[in-house]
């Protein structure tokens, strides 16, 4: 480390984020390495080091002997200014080498608000952020994660998008890169070859024709590039390596614990939920694999908490068996077990009693809609009776803090639905009064609302988004109708939702907007400290684009959507059916009971989906 950098580190907050050197980090000898990968997370160290995907793929890429993959995070404002002032480039935490020294610069991007930070991280290292300005094979910029579900807004900057799960794809790509580097291939020649790997989208290989209204007419693939690009999935989750020796941060991060992923995909099919449609098909991990990996990970990291991850933990096929197995180990070793996304029923209360012996943290319900009609329309398969039943069980069990999450601005929503949220809180309070064991301790209900943002690849991808004024009108309706004293109401601000909306369903013209915002100083915009809506509105204006086009219009089913280039496995026809059902307030239900034929099972070679198998079994019975 240079004295210059040391001097900077002495000035900034939490310098531990910028020095690496953690237990289990991977150090290799540069002379044995053919391909150096800078694995970038466009947010702070604390957020990035809590990301399971980063941890898995860091390990996956480093399993190749000729690859050395290092981590890079975005510096906080104070560090950013110091580095700029002294012209220090952004560097890999393992080697301290500048991003410019790396062959492949790989971004893991999980949310839209991080897009400007991608440009910033490249810029900090003196790498041109526009892909046409990068001519060589070196400094190839690739990206994966939810960014690939609609790559259009970032297609001017990223050379290669990875669509879907990376455990196999990343290393196939790196093997091809090594070969290209050995043979002295040019960038374009390499990109042509790479586009043939399943799950790889190379924006340079597609021309786009527009209609007069600037909607897309069609995509024109070149050089034999595929259309659409199909998502990659791992067929057997037990067979791919899982890092049981993840890096142990030397400083506090958001999630200081072991994460075990129970399964991918979700049975529920909530119509607003992007993850629910894009992580299909459903694939379970074996409980014995999970138990073993949990034990190994605790032993190799010294962490004192394990958390079980999935979109809906209660739907895990062997939850009881897994918990029993882990609890025994956890008790012996004073390790805590946490189970987020659990539905509240008798079984789970029992489980929670076992898991958290002393502390009773709050319970959270994602109810999403304030009336049964609306919940049916969004296919949120939860009834008021079920929520009250869960509350009763929780209150009898001694809980007295409840959080209820809703969305405002969902398609078909009317003002009655919004008032329904207040009524529901009243009923929760009544339930508490009837069933609590200790009234003196009081009840705390927190109601939170966020603004619904229609997302690509969901049945609501064609819908309008509500504007800021309309959202605030809805917030006020709710605020005025909440009477119960025990209720605290929080609402998510509407400004970021506007930007998230533009980026989520943006097209190829949004790249210029992202660039303008970056040039106006936009970075780390997922942080309210750094977010500025005006920059975005100005940038849209400068580029002759309007919110109306991106947010406030209904799209026709026939419209070619910017993300039609990506095939996540769910048929468009299925999404259309679901959309129509939403407008008829019709529930579809759970696909573990009846396979709904979404099509995602065709992504696996064996045509496998756990939901499909389970539904077939229950039909036979």
């Amino acid at each position: 480390m240079t004295d210059d950098l040391r001097a900077v580190l002495n000035k900034v907050q939490k310098p531990a984020r910028y020095v690496g050197g953690e237990y289990n980090q991977i150090i290799k000898d540069k002379k044995d390495i053919d391909v150096r990968v800078a694995f970038c997370f466009p947010d702070t160290y604390e957020i990035g080091m809590s990301n399971l995907g980063m941890s898995i793929l860091y390990k996956t890429m480093n399993s190749l002997p000729y690859v050395w993959c290092e981590r890079v995070f975005a510096p906080w404002g104070d560090m950013y200014r110091e580095m700029k002032e002294r012209q220090l480039p952004l560097y890999g935490l393992e080697s301290g080498d500048s991003l410019g020294d790396f062959d492949v610069i790989a971004f893991s991007v999980g949310y839209e608000m991080a897009y400007t930070t991608v440009l910033d991280m490249l810029d900090m290292s003196g790498i041109p952020y526009r892909r046409e300005e990068r001519n060589g094979l070196k400094n190839l910029v690739v990206a994966g994660g939810t960014i690939s579900l609609n790559p259009a807004p970032m297609a001017d900057f990223i050379d290669v998008f990875f669509v879907g799960e990376g455990e196999e794809l990343d290393n196939e790509f790196l093997a091809l890169y090594k070969e290209a580097k050995d043979n002295g291939l040019g960038k374009y020649e390499f990109l042509k070859k790479a586009s043939q790997i399943r799950g790889v989208y190379v924006p340079a290989l597609y021309d786009i024709e527009y209609n007069e209204d600037m909607t897309i007419k069609r995509f024109l693939p070149k050089e034999g590039a595929p259309f659409p690009v199909r998502k990659r999935v791992i067929e057997d989750l037990d067979s791919v390596p899982f890092p049981t020796d993840p890096i142990v941060p030397n400083t506090e991060v958001i999630h200081d614990r072991i994460s075990l992923e129970l399964f991918r995909g979700c049975f529920r099919g909530c119509r607003f939920c992007q993850a629910g449609f894009t992580y299909r098909p459903i694939r379970m991990k074996d409980s014995e694999t999970l138990r073993r990996q949990g034990v190994e990970a605790v032993n190799s990291t010294g962490h004192n908490e394990i958390t079980l991850l999935s979109l809906s933990t209660s739907d895990y096929c062997e939850l009881e068996k897994l918990c029993d197995g882990l609890l025994k180990f956890c008790e012996e070793r004073s390790v805590g077990l946490s189970l987020p996304s659990l539905r509240v029923d008798n079984f789970s209360i029992d489980l929670m009693e076992k898991v958290q012996k002393v502390r009773k943290s709050g319970l959270t319900f994602a109810v999403e809609g304030g009336s049964q009609r609306l919940r049916d329309a969004i296919n949120k398969n939860v009834t008021e009776e079920e929520v009250m039943n869960s509350c009763r069980i929780a209150f009898e069990g001694g809980w007295n803090t409840i959080k209820l999450y809703y969305m405002l601005g969902l398609p078909t929503e009317n003002d009655e639905d919004i008032r329904g949220i207040a009524e529901m809180s009243d009923k929760v309070q009544y339930t508490w009064r009837t069933y609590t064991r200790n009234r003196k301790r009081g009840l705390k209900i927190t109601v939170s609302t966020s603004c619904f943002i229609p997302k690509p690849h969901t049945p609501f991808q064609w819908e309008k988004q509500v504007g800021m004024e309309e959202y605030l009108r809805k917030v006020n309706i709710l605020r005025d109708s909440i009477k119960a004293k025990s209720v605290t109401y929080n609402w998510h601000d509407a400004e970021t939702s506007v930007v998230e909306g533009i980026l989520s369903r943006g097209d190829f013209r949004i790249g210029n907007v992202i660039e303008s915002v970056f040039k106006k100083g936009g970075r780390l915009e997922a942080w309210f400290e750094y977010f500025d809506l005006n920059r975005w509105l100005e940038a849209l204006d400068e580029n002759g684009l309007s919110l109306d086009f991106y947010l406030f219009r209904d799209r026709a089913y026939e419209e070619v959507l910017p993300w039609d280039i990506i095939d996540v496995g769910v048929l468009k026809g299925f999404l259309i059916t679901e959309n129509k059902k939403a407008h008829r307030n019709e529930l579809t239900g759970d696909c573990g009971e009846r396979c709904l034929g979404c099509g995602a099972f065709t992504l696996t070679e064996g045509g496998y989906c756990y939901g499909k198998e389970k539904a077939a079994l229950s039909k036979d019975r």
Binding site: P15, G21, Y23, V248, N250, T251, E252, G302, H303
Partner: protein, 219 residues
């Protein structure tokens, strides 16, 4: 219950982790090593562990101590071996032994400054000596409430030696560990106040040894 004292070094990049983070790091390292620490009683049991002279972020040390209580009786060299491979880069255990002396007996800390100048000031050593020889060395210190207050560190900051090596000057001092605690930054503040030319472009701080009131090495 075995009350043990670990001596360790904290050098290199890990100097930038805070005292609290270091304690967490040790706690996880003990867990990885399979060394069971005694835990405190109460709702939030924490391992009983203390490092009595917190090191400021960015400063290095060759002489830190960590006092722990182990649940089991394990030979000292075994503890050292078990733990050593489980620590992150930059933390090195140099010795493990029984806690016989109270850490409150530590009065002095040997502190080395590496002072880096674009061009070393003339008569550098003599001027630094002169500064330590002053009748009073009053520096401004920020109190917890944020206000500035003056303290005289005379008698609690002693000159030990000075040498010029390669690109920088090495200044060795004894600074009081407690009653009052003199932070190395205070010495640089004194430069600034009494002889601003002595303020280096850049400097690093390394603790070298712990001593009792008679300047005998503390174990």
């Amino acid at each position: 219950m075995e009350k043990k004292r670990l001596r360790f070094q904290k050098t290199g990049n890990i100097a930038f982790i805070s005292h609290l983070d270091l304690m967490h790091t040790f706690s996880r390292a003990f867990s990885r090593a399979g060394l069971a620490l005694k835990y405190s009683e109460g709702f939030n049991p924490r391992p009983v562990m203390s490092s009595p002279f917190p090191l400021s972020v960015g400063q290095e040390s060759l002489c830190e101590i960590l006092d722990i209580t182990l649940k089991n009786d394990i030979p000292d060299d075994e503890i050292k071996e078990m733990l050593s491979s489980k620590l992150p880069e930059g933390i090195k255990i140099t010795a493990v032994y029984d806690q016989t002396l109270k850490s409150s007996l530590v009065k002095w800390i040997g502190v080395q400054f590496r002072l880096k100048y674009k061009k070393a000031p003339d008569e550098c050593e003599n001027r630094i000596r002169a500064l330590f020889d002053r009748e009073e060395i009053v520096i401004s210190k920020r109190t917890k409430s944020g206000a500035l207050s003056d303290t005289d560190i005379k008698g609690n900051a002693l000159f030990k030696s000075f040498e010029i090596s390669e690109d920088s000057c090495l200044l060795n001092t004894y600074l009081s560990a407690s009653d009052p605690t003199v932070n190395p930054v205070g010495v640089i503040s004194a430069f600034e106040k009494y002889d601003p030319e002595l303020v280096p472009e850049y400097y690093t701080v390394t603790r070298t040894e712990l001593y009792d009131r008679d300047l005998n090495i503390f174990r």
